[in-house]
C-alpha cells in the first residue's frame, strides 16, 4: 500500500513495512557511504535489503562482505576513520562477537550507527527477543536507544546519525529494536522525502578525525596512563552533552515528519500518577494499553518509557520517580546476582526517594500481553498499599508454563 500526503509542506510516503525494511529505508535516506555486516537472525533482512539497494544502484554505497561480525565492525571502523558515513547491524551472538571492536569505535569517538535487533543469548538457542544482548554493551560508551514500534525504529536510526555526528557528541549509536516483534512485523509508516532529509542531515563533517593517504598518524598509540583517563573524561563529557542533543534532535525532527517522542524518555499519563511504571522497547505499547485499562478502573498509573538507556535520563527518572509513591520497573534483561538491568539503574537513582520494585519477565521472547501487565501492576500496587515497608529493590520473576514437557 502506498499513500502520499504532506506534513506542513513536506512530502510523506505512507508505506506498510516490517521493522527491518524500515531500518534499511532510513539508512538509504541517510545516504551512507559504507555498509558492512554479517547475517544473523533476526537482523539479516536489514542488510539483505541494503545489499539489494546497493546492487540495483538505488543506494550509492560500498558494501563490504566479511567473514564475521568482528570483521564487520572493524570494516566500518576503518571506513568511518576515513570520513565515511557507515552502517552495520547485528543481533545477539553477533553483537557479543563484536564486543572488542565496539570499544575501539567508542573510544575513538567515531560516529558509527548500528542497528541491534535484540535477541536472546544462548544456550538454549533462541531467536526471540529479550534485551540482554543490547544491554551487555551498556558501559561501552555507545549511545543506546530502544524503539517501541517500527516507525520509531526508523526515526531513531535517522536521528542516530544526526546525534552521533553532532560535534558536541561524536559517539557511536545503537538503535535497538525487538526481534520479530518489530523486526518482522509490518506496520504503517510515513517516510519523509529524500530532499527533506538531505536538508536536515547534511554530509558528515571530517570529525573527530579523518585518515587520508599520505598523512601518517596512529590512532590510540601506547601512551602514558594519564592519557587513557583523559580520553575517557572527554567521552564522559560528550555523553553528558548527548542528553541535550538527543532532546534537541528529537524536537527538530518534528519539523520534517510531525513526529516527536519526548527525547530521552516518553511520558505516558504520568502527570497525575501515583505509581510509575518504567520499561523499554516494544512491550511499552502493551504497557500503555494496560495503563489505559487500569486508569478506567481508577488506578492512577503512568508509564515513563526509557527511550535511551545510555545516556541514562537521570533527570526524568528523578523528576517523575520521586513524585510518585512507588516505581515498578519491568525488565527484559537481568543482571544475575542483582536484578533487572534497568531496575538496578532506577533503584540507584531513586535511592532514598521512592521505593522501587523490579520485575524480570519475557526473557527469551516469552510473550507478555497487556493482561499480564495489568496483573503485575495491580499486584505491585496492592503489595505497596498493604505493606509500606518495601525494600529498595525487590526483584520478581514472572514465570509462565510451557515449552518442553
Amino acid at each position: 500500500m502506498r499513500l502520499r500526503w504532506s506534513w506542513r509542506g513536506s512530502d510523506m510516503d505512507r508505506r506498510v513495512l516490517i521493522g527491518n525494511i524500515a531500518i534499511s529505508e532510513a539508512v538509504k535516506l541517510a545516504r551512507v557511504d559504507v555498509i558492512s555486516a554479517y547475517p544473523i537472525t533476526p537482523q539479516t533482512i536489514i542488510v539483505e535489503k541494503l545489499a539489494e539497494m546497493v546492487d540495483s544502484g538505488e543506494l550509492n554505497a560500498k558494501y563490504i562482505r566479511v567473514d564475521s561480525e568482528h570483521s564487520a565492525l572493524a570494516a566500518v571502523y576503518g571506513a568511518s576513520s576515513g570520513g565515511s558515513r557507515v552502517f552495520t547491524a547485528t543481533s545477539s551472538h553477533g553483537l557479543l562477537y563484536m564486543y572488542e571492536m565496539l570499544w575501539w569505535v567508542s573510544n575513538s569517538r567515531l560516529p558509527v550507527v548500528m542497528a541491534v535487533v535484540t535477541r536472546s543469548i544462548g544456550p538454549p538457542w533462541n531467536i526471540h527477543t529479550d534485551h540482554q544482548d543490547a544491554l551487555t554493551v551498556r558501559d561501552s560508551g555507545w549511545i543506546i536507544g530502544f524503539a517501541e514500534n517500527v516507525e520509531e525504529a526508523f526515526d531513531m536510526t535517522l536521528q542516530a546519525y544526526k546525534i552521533s555526528e553532532d560535534k558536541r557528541v561524536l559517539l557511536p549509536s545503537i538503535v535497538a529494536l525487538d526481534g520479530f516483534i518489530l523486526s518482522h512485523t509490518a506496520e504503517p509508516i510515513d517516510i519523509p522525502s529524500q530532499e527533506d532529509i538531505d536538508r536536515w542531515l547534511p554530509p558528515r563533517e571530517p570529525l573527530p578525525f579523518v585518515m587520508k593517504p599520505g598523512e601518517g598518524f596512529a590512532v590510540g598509540n601506547l601512551g602514558p596512563d594519564e592519557v587513557t583517563m583523559e580520553l575517557r573524561w572527554y567521552i564522559w563529557r560528550a555523553m553528558e552533552r548527548a542528553k541535550r542533543v538527543i532532546n534537541e534532535v528529537d524536537y527538530e525532527y518534528k519539523d520534517i515528519t510531525g513526529r516527536s517522542y519526548g527525547g530521552l524518555t516518553e511520558r505516558y499519563r504520568v502527570e497525575d500518577a501515583d505509581y510509575i511504571v518504567m520499561g523499554m522497547g516494544s512491550w511499552c505499547g502493551d504497557i500503555k494499553e494496560a495503563i489505559d485499562m487500569l486508569r478506567d478502573e481508577g488506578y492512577r498509573v503512568g508509564l515513563l518509557r526509557i527511550r535511551y538507556i545510555r545516556p541514562l535520563p537521570i533527570q526524568d527518572i528523578i523528576k517523575y520517580g520521586s513524585r510518585s509513591k512507588a516505581v515498578l520497573v519491568i525488565d527484559r534483561a537481568v543482571s544475575m546476582g542483582y536484578g533487572g538491568v534497568l531496575a538496578g539503574e532506577v533503584a540507584s537513582i531513586l535511592r532514598g526517594r521512592t521505593p522501587v520494585k523490579g520485575v524480570v519477565a519475557g526473557l527469551g521472547g516469552v510473550d507478555m500481553r497487556s493482561e499480564d501487565f495489568i496483573d503485575i501492576i495491580k499486584r505491585f500496587i496492592e503489595e505497596y498499599e498493604l505493606d509500606l515497608d518495601i525494600n529498595w529493590l525487590n526483584t520478581y520473576w514472572i514465570m509462565k508454563d510451557g515449552g518442553r514437557g
Binding site: 575513538s108 569517538r109 560535534k167 558536541r168 557528541v169 561524536l170 570529525l207 573527530p208 578525525f209 601518517g216 598518524f217 596512529a218 590512532v219 590510540g220 598509540n221 601506547l222 601512551g223 602514558p224 592519557v227 583523559e230 580520553l231 573524561w233 572527554y234 563529557r237 560528550a238 553528558e240 552533552r241 541535550r244
Partner: protein, 104 residues
Amino acid sequence: MEARYKILDIDLEGIEDIRRFREKLLSRPDKGSAGKTGTWRLYKPILYIDKCTRCGLCWLYCPDNVISWRQREIPEIDMEFCKGCGICGDVCPVDAIEMVLEGE
C-alpha cells in the same frame, strides 16, 4: 603528582574537547614519541671500536632505529632510546658489540 579533581564544567559546544581529544588520541611518527625507551634496558651494548669493521650490519638490523651510521664510519648508539634487545650484538660478524648487564 598532584591529583586534579575535575568537576562537570561542560563546554557546551565541545569544540575544544574534540581538539584536545584528537591531540591525545592521534600520534605522529616522531623521535621519542613513546617516551624515553632507554629506561627499559636491562643489558647495554658496548661497542669495541678497534674490532669494528664499519660494515653497518648493526645499523641495518636495529629494530628501534637508534644506531646511526654512515659508510666507512663507526656506528653510534643512542642510549636514550636503545632498549637493549641485543640484536646488534647478535648480528655483528666480528663480535664488536657485547651486551653487558646495566650497572656493571
